[in-house]
Structure formats: structure tokens, C-alpha cells
């Protein structure tokens, strides 16, 4: 079997946090939303399901952007320190 590196396995704290945030928010929209938030209620005039999904979407983006840019910073520092 050929030697390989699977770069998708998180290696740093920020990569772990990115992956966890990605999965938690995915589960919140993919599985939790249609089961627990499928009611004809309104939040500021928007249906509950829509409000939940859009709200999670915003939180999802902010969190992943935060961790993602920290990963970029780490990557830059790594390249600088290792003169790549």
C-alpha cells in the first residue's frame, strides 16, 4: 500500500474547532431543524423553520470564518518558519 497523508484529519486546535463547528451546525440544520422546529410559529414574521435555519446559517458562517482565518494564519506562520 502506498504511503499517503490524509490532510482532512484535523491537526491543530483550530482545525478541530472548525471541523466540530461545521458538523454541529450541519446537524442543527440537517436533522434537528425538520424534527424539532417544524411548527407554524413565527419569529419576527418569519416561519420558525426558516428563522432557525437562517439563524444557524449565520452562526455557522461566522464560526467557520473565525476558525478558518485562524487556520490560514497558522499556515502562514508554519510556511514562514519552515521557509516553504
Amino acid at each position: 500500500m502506498q504511503k499517503f497523508h490524509n490532510h482532512l484529519v484535523p491537526q491543530t486546535i483550530n482545525q478541530w474547532l472548525y471541523a466540530i463547528w461545521l458538523i454541529v451546525c450541519l446537524v442543527s440544520v440537517w436533522f434537528i431543524a425538520p424534527i424539532y422546529f417544524n411548527e407554524p410559529e413565527q419569529i419576527f414574521g418569519f416561519p420558525l423553520l426558516y428563522a432557525w435555519c437562517t439563524g444557524i446559517g449565520i452562526v455557522w458562517l461566522i464560526g467557520c470564518m473565525f476558525f478558518g482565518f485562524r487556520i490560514e494564519k497558522e499556515r502562514e506562520e508554519f510556511k514562514k518558519n519552515n521557509q516553504i
Binding site: 499517503f4 497523508h5 482532512l8 508554519f78
Partner: protein
């Protein structure tokens, strides 16, 4: 001709002039006459241009008028869009797109088949992949021209501009700038189109809100107390947007295939570097999601204002596409042309990218690989431009046919492209699994057959899935594809180890361990 139609024509002409100016200006001319600087941008675009290029290029006619039509027909089920507008950038573009960019820049790929055949082997495999993708994309191109053409025709008045005329206007516009400057031209026009459609959809939402007295709570209550209160929950008035649907269609029917459409590959190859694509993956969800946020207001306002234009008992996903054009016909403000041009922008921004990508595949994977090897680059570009014109004509001709058939075929597009996912993952994400060309081909064919049985079977009365098992057909295709691929791979020849080592080494170099 009424003043409103005249104003719509003037605004749409202004939009057309802007697009032609942006799409053919000196900034769209590359330094070299080469395939790899015509179908893609060799030196690569920076963050801002590519950000808006991808943002606009990813949104199709499904954004305008499709999304509001979906809310009109099926209600809140469209909230599932978060599963592609946010998940696709943060997962598929960030992880897979960046790896496609890495390999594309390193080995100067032009088409999706370049990447797959470089790993699995050239020859018939390459041409199979190229024609498979081309076949999958024709319905998508038809959809991207048909929806906006209906909007344009309805906005001006079908008596002044029939649907076929609107189709020809859009086709001509795309033909001019795409044959003039290829990927550069289409990306710059997509930047302008992305901005225009964003402004248009938000303007449309505020206009719709003003039509229902500006109060969201009242709008909600009118729906809740009306005949179509089922719009506020799953499974919607048609009963088809079930939990099984939610858990499979947005992810397997859209999110996983959206970024690996050929146009996605061309955008990834046209990035300046891998970091640019990673940054786009992290941030482009803001645009993608924000574009759909106001669609619910437009869709629900149309339900209140035009409750009777469609029979709730017989609605299907695509017939709702006519709801927003109908609203514009009844209530359009004097600036309604801005919204209509936004619809044109949504369709054209992905139509041109698809035409370019498909022309690149026919030119590079077929003509340059099998018909005229080592011909001058000018000849390839000339051939590519002729293919672009032919593809546009085919798109217009197929769009003149029954819209229901086109809509059906879009589902087939999604199912076909999704079956390529295991192959793309095998190349871009190194694992210890044995995956061979034979396995990939068998998996694609088995997955496609399973998809077609589940997708078309119920429509033609051949099979009926029991309640609780009505998952999206692309999902069924993929769960057959993957095990078949893995099993057949155990008994077929592995890819050339030197090719595999070269590609993995390129990935290692870019995605080194950080600790």
C-alpha cells in the same frame, strides 16, 4: 406599447450594454493565445473578482425566479437552502475546491476530465468523462435560459417580445462576450451580474413588502389564516417536501454536486492560488445565503396577492416559476426592469460558465486529444468558439420545448454529476482505499442506473417507493455507486503508481502538516 413595457426595455437595454462593455473590454484580453488562457485564466484571478465570479456563477435561474417560485409552491421547505448555500462553500469549496485548484495550477489542467484522467489514466476514460459531463449539463443550460426568458417576455409583454425572442436575445448576448474573451469575459460579466442580481432581489423583496403594507407579521398571519397555511411547515401544500426529502435532496441533490459541476472546476483552476480559493470557501456563503434570504418575502407576498394563479392541488416544483413573473405582470413598478434584468443576470451568469466549460471539454478532451493532436493553439481556440456557438444554439432549441421536460432533465443533471463525486474524492483526498478506473466507471454506471430507476420510475408508474423511503434519487445513486466502486476496484488494475505518487506529492506539498 404601454410606458411600463417601454421602461422595462430601456432598463434591460442598459443592462445588456453594461454586460457587453464589461465582457468585451480590454481587461478581458489575455496576454497569450492559448487554450489554458482562454477557457480558464492561466495567471489566475485574485480574491475579489473570483469571489463575485463564483458567487454569481453558482447562482442559476433557480435564484430568480426559481427560489420565490419554490416558496410559492412548497413554502418554507426552501429554508433547506442553508444546506447548500453555507455547507457547500465551507465544506466542498474549502476542502475539495482548494485541492482541485492545487492540482489544476500544478499540472495546468483545463477540464474536469484532465484531473480525473491524469490520475486514473488517459484514453477512452477521458472521453467518457467529458461526454458524460456534457450530456449532464445540456438540461442545466436550458434551464438557465428558460426561466429568465419567461421573466423577460412576461415583463415586456409576450405580445411585444415572445418567449422565443427573449431566448434569442439572451443567447446573442452570451454568444458575443463569451466568444470574444472566454473565461475572462464571462468572469468579469459575472461580477457585474452578481452585483445586479443581489440588488434586484433585495429591491424586489422590499417592493413586495410594500405591496402587503410592509408588515412581515401580517404577511405571516395572512398565510397562516388562509387556505394555504401548510406553506409554513413541512411537507408543504403538495405533501412532497417530507423529512426524507429534507434529509437527502438539499445535500445529495444539490450541495455535493453544486461545486463539482464543470463550471466549478474552471473557476477553481482560474484562482491565483490555493489560498484564494480557501478564502472564498470561507466567505462566499455570505453572498450565497444573503441572496436567498429575501426570496421568502417575494414568494409569500405572491401567495397573498395572487392566490389563485396555480391550483395548490396540482402544483409541482417548477410550475411555481411562473408566479413571480405573474406578479410582475400584475403589479410591476416603473423600475420593474431592474428586477427582470436581475433574473437575466442569474441565468446568464451560469449559462456562460457552463457553455465555456463544455466547449473546453469538447475542444481539449476530444478535438485536441483525438482529432487534431499538436495543432496550433489558435486552431483550438477557433474550434472552441465554434463549439460555443453550436452549444448556445442547441440550448435555445431545447429550451423551446416543453418546460416540464427541461425541469425533469435538471434532476437528471444533478443525479449524473453527483455520481462523479467518488472519483473526484479519490483524486483529491488521498486515502488507503484501493480505487481503480474500472471501479470508478462501474460505480458511475451502477449509480446512474439506480438513480434513473428511482428518479424516473415513479414518474412513469413503474415503481412506487413506500412512505418513509422517498429519499432523493441522487442519494440512492450514491449509495449504490460507492460500494460497487469499492468492490470492483478490488479486482481491477490500479492506477499507474507514478501518476498517483506525483499527484499525492503535489497535494502533500501544499497541504503539509501544520504541527
Amino acid at each position: 406599447m404601454p410606458t411600463s413595457s417601454l421602461l422595462t426595455i430601456i432598463i434591460c437595454l442598459a443592462y445588456a450594454a453594461l454586460i457587453l462593455y464589461v465582457g468585451t473590454g480590454k481587461w478581458t484580453k489575455g496576454g497569450q493565445v492559448r487554450m489554458d488562457d482562454f477557457f480558464k485564466v492561466g495567471p489566475g484571478f485574485g480574491f475579489i473578482v473570483l469571489y463575485l465570479g463564483i458567487a454569481g456563477g453558482f447562482h442559476t435561474a433557480f435564484a430568480i425566479p426559481g427560489s420565490m417560485g419554490f416558496y410559492y409552491t412548497h413554502g418554507v421547505a426552501f429554508a433547506a437552502n442553508i444546506l447548500w448555500t453555507v455547507f457547500t462553500p465551507l465544506a466542498v469549496i474549502y476542502f475539495i475546491g482548494s485541492r482541485i485548484t492545487c492540482l489544476g495550477k500544478k499540472f495546468n489542467y483545463v477540464t474536469p476530465a484532465d484531473l480525473l484522467s491524469d490520475y486514473f489514466g488517459e484514453g477512452k476514460f477521458k472521453i467518457f468523462i467529458a461526454f458524460y459531463i456534457l450530456l449532464a449539463c445540456i438540461p442545466l443550460m436550458s434551464a438557465n435560459i428558460t426561466g429568465p426568458a419567461i421573466l423577460l417576455s412576461e415583463g415586456i409583454g409576450p405580445e411585444y417580445l415572445p418567449r422565443w425572442g427573449a431566448l434569442c436575445v439572451m443567447a446573442l448576448l452570451v454568444m458575443v462576450y463569451i466568444t470574444s474573451s472566454g473565461m475572462r469575459g464571462l468572469t468579469w460579466t459575472t461580477v457585474a451580474q452578481a452585483i445586479w442580481m443581489f440588488v434586484a432581489i433585495w429591491l424586489a423583496a422590499f417592493w413586495c413588502l410594500s405591496l402587503v403594507d410592509g408588515n412581515l407579521v401580517d404577511l405571516f398571519n395572512q398565510i397562516k389564516d388562509g387556505e394555504r397555511s401548510a406553506l409554513l411547515t413541512l411537507p408543504g401544500p403538495t405533501g412532497t417536501r417530507t423529512i426524507e426529502w429534507w434529509m437527502t435532496w438539499p445535500v445529495f441533490g444539490i450541495a455535493l454536486y453544486w461545486a463539482i459541476l464543470p463550471r466549478g472546476f474552471l473557476f477553481f483552476y482560474s484562482a491565483r492560488d490555493v489560498k484564494t480559493i480557501r478564502k472564498i470557501g470561507l466567505t462566499v456563503g455570505i453572498y450565497l445565503m444573503a441572496l436567498y434570504i429575501p426570496a421568502i418575502i417575494i414568494g409569500f407576498a405572491t401567495v397573498v396577492l395572487l392566490p389563485g394563479i396555480l391550483d395548490p392541488g396540482t402544483l409541482s416544483g417548477m410550475t411555481g416559476d411562473g408566479s413571480f413573473p405573474a406578479l410582475l405582470r400584475e403589479y410591476a413598478p416603473w423600475w420593474g426592469g431592474v428586477i427582470i434584468a436581475g433574473g437575466l443576470a442569474a441565468g446568464m451568469s451560469s449559462l456562460d460558465a457552463d457553455i465555456n466549460a463544455n466547449s473546453a471539454m469538447i475542444t481539449k478532451d476530444f478535438y485536441a486529444s483525438f482529432v487534431r493532436k499538436n495543432a496550433p493553439e489558435q486552431e483550438y481556440i477557433k474550434f472552441g468558439k465554434i463549439v460555443m456557438i453550436i452549444l448556445i444554439i442547441i440550448t435555445v432549441l431545447t429550451s423551446l420545448r416543453d418546460w416540464g421536460l427541461v425541469a425533469l432533465m435538471i434532476g437528471v443533471t444533478a443525479g449524473m454529476i453527483t455520481q462523479l463525486l467518488p472519483a473526484v474524492l479519490a483524486v483529491t483526498i488521498p486515502t488507503g482505499l484501493r480505487i481503480t478506473k474500472g471501479g470508478i466507471l462501474t460505480g458511475i454506471i451502477a449509480g446512474l442506473l439506480s438513480f434513473l430507476i428511482v428518479f424516473l420510475g415513479p414518474r412513469f408508474g413503474l415503481i412506487s417507493l413506500p412512505v418513509g423511503w422517498r429519499f432523493d434519487a441522487s442519494f440512492y445513486g450514491l449509495i449504490v455507486n460507492i460500494p460497487v466502486m469499492l468492490i470492483v476496484s478490488q479486482f481491477t488494475e490500479t492506477p499507474d503508481p507514478s501518476r498517483v505518487a506525483r499527484i499525492r506529492s503535489a497535494l502533500d506539498e501544499e497541504f503539509k502538516r501544520l504541527n
